[in-house]
Amino acid sequence: MREMSNIYETALSSGAAGAATGAIIALAASGSLSIVTGTLSLAGTALAWGEIGLAASFAGSALAAGAALTPLAAVAAPVVFFTGISASIKADENLEKAETMYAEADAAAEKMKLAETLCGAIGERAKMFKDLLDELDEVFSECTEELSNMVRKKTGGSLTKTIDANTLTEKELELIGVTRSLAGAVKSIIDTPILNKEGNLTDESEKVYEKISGVLPEFVTFANEVNEINEVNEVNEDKDEALPEENSSGLGVRSCCDDILANVYKYDIGGKVEALVDNLQDEKSKLCDAIAELRKETNVSKDKFNAYISDIFASKSENRKERDKFKKLLVDKFGEAERKGRNMFEAGILGTLEDIGYSIRNAVKENTSTEKLLKEKKAQLASNEELTEEIKEQVLDFIRSMAECIDDFVQKVNKFESQEELYSYTELDYPEYMEYGSNEFEYPTKVKAKAACKTAVGFMVDAVKEKYEKQRDEIISCTRKYYLGLENKFNGFIDEFIETYDDYVAVECDDDKTREYVSSRKAELFGKESLEKEALEYNLRTKFHMLVNERFGASSTEIFNKRKYFTMCEYAEDEERYCYMMEAACNGIYEEANRSLMEEAEIFPENVFKEYIMAIVSFCEILKNKLAKL
């Protein structure tokens, strides 16, 4: 069903607020809408909905007519008229009248208590339905998306092509079946009235709730399986994805901006970034300027530049968790105020760009330094009259091979990914203020309440700090474990490089004299002892510890400033007893400590990686400089 216009219209999305509210409540309570217009077209479906589908019954659901219920009218307060005491009638009559009013008020109050109970039950049932519908819809929308992708692939995007059921795999058939069941479950939740005409809870809603909440876990399991399969497919597709074709060459530096943006948009959800970029020309211009600057700085061709970008994005997209995190960050931030959204956009996109730039700089550095090395070496050898042309050529080939070996290593570490879990941290527990004696009226004077509050805040801050430090250590430890592999690679490379030297002597140096010459320089230039000594300067473990001290050394002082939280306390008095209230202090420290942890969880591993890569690249530069001395 490709065309379906206006399933229902819209007292919901426009029109008088009161009418809209009434319609929404009616939809909530009864599952039907009284104000419905529009038509349904059943033409052009790729899947045979006649067999699979619930389309017609959904239309029925949306179109179900009926008087809009005003469910809460049934629990309206009964009216009691109160009249004043009159001087013109006898006192006894006044009293009698007042007692009658009291009896009526009492009866009305009883009815209202009952109504309150009913309201509470309605609210509870509505909440249960809402939660269930939300959970169900999360799974349903995932499966629908998968189904939509599957149909698009099978039909090649054609609106008229239908799918032969025989061409579907078992998993695809299962996807159709489960999505259909989910649609049925969603439909039940929407259609089932939770209130009857009298405004009472229906038994039917209870039964439907029990039935659907019982099968929800199976749906969730299926959706997870589909997701896992999809993740694998996405990775494969990302790997296979061809680089964007270049239409022309030699375009200006700014001209590749759109290509780069297109790559950035791969991180987009629902076109939000793209829409924002289009709306915020300033940001786009800033982004393009940054790209232009980067290209100018790196001085690489457009083709090469794009190849680097695509490579970086392709390798990044293999890490779904990373990508999802980035997406989530953008979506969360876009949900906030526009100003914040803009700032985030700037930080997010330009931050990404910075990462891109960083990787490009390294990639370019490795290539240009090799080219430069060979060029210089060639010039140097040319002036050496003692060596024959053959020897010169062999020495150059040897140097090229060794330099390539170094470049390969740099490339590998640039794409490093460990098997370890990098992001497994949870949020801190909320410090329950009641556990710290807050809100208890037990102090005879305000000053005593203040003193007690100070002590309580001290305990609370210490407790949160302890948990914070535990989590922080966890971040450090996870990062350490994650990058231990990189450290090992680096240390292993030194041994490997020495071995490779001998191997390349055998491969590239055919002439005895060349072999003798190159081998004789090995001990001096690349002796194990000398290399290890050089490597010590770039010791990754030391760099890690330096980073730990730098990032975490003083950062917690401000977060755990007891005085700051003590000033957030409030005090109250009741019957000459005082209490302190530390809810604001608990909220404050909770938010601050959590924010700091989450930021560190994000930034610290990135910094470690960058620091490691810089150290490795610098060390490799030293190796190349040594090669130049051959």
């Binding site: 069903m1 409540i25 009526e104 009492d106 309150e116 909440k127 519908l133 929308s141």
Partner: protein, 82 residues
């Protein structure tokens, strides 16, 4: 001569009775006022409490209604368009 005294005496007695009767009526009226006030308070308190709960319930129903609306306009629409 004693008659006027008697009359006068009766007048005094009647006056005393009138004062007593008025005082009782005042008390009764005050009691009636008090009962009336209590009745109104009882009613108003119950009404206020009910109105709060009604408002909460209405908000919860609105939440559910909007969820249904979003699902109808979101995933169900998408599902029907597949």
């Amino acid at each position: 001569m004693p008659i006027p005294f008697l009359i006068a005496g009766l007048g005094v007695a009647a006056g005393a009775l009138g004062v007593m009767g008025h005082s009782e009526a005042k008390e009764t009226n005050e009691k009636a006022e008090s009962v009336s006030r209590k009745a109104q308070k009882l009613y108003e308190d119950a009404k206020d409490s009910l109105e709060i709960v009604q408002k909460e319930t209405q908000e919860t129903l609105l939440d559910l209604g909007y969820s249904k609306k979003n699902v109808l306009e979101g995933s169900i629409k998408e599902f029907l368009q597949v």
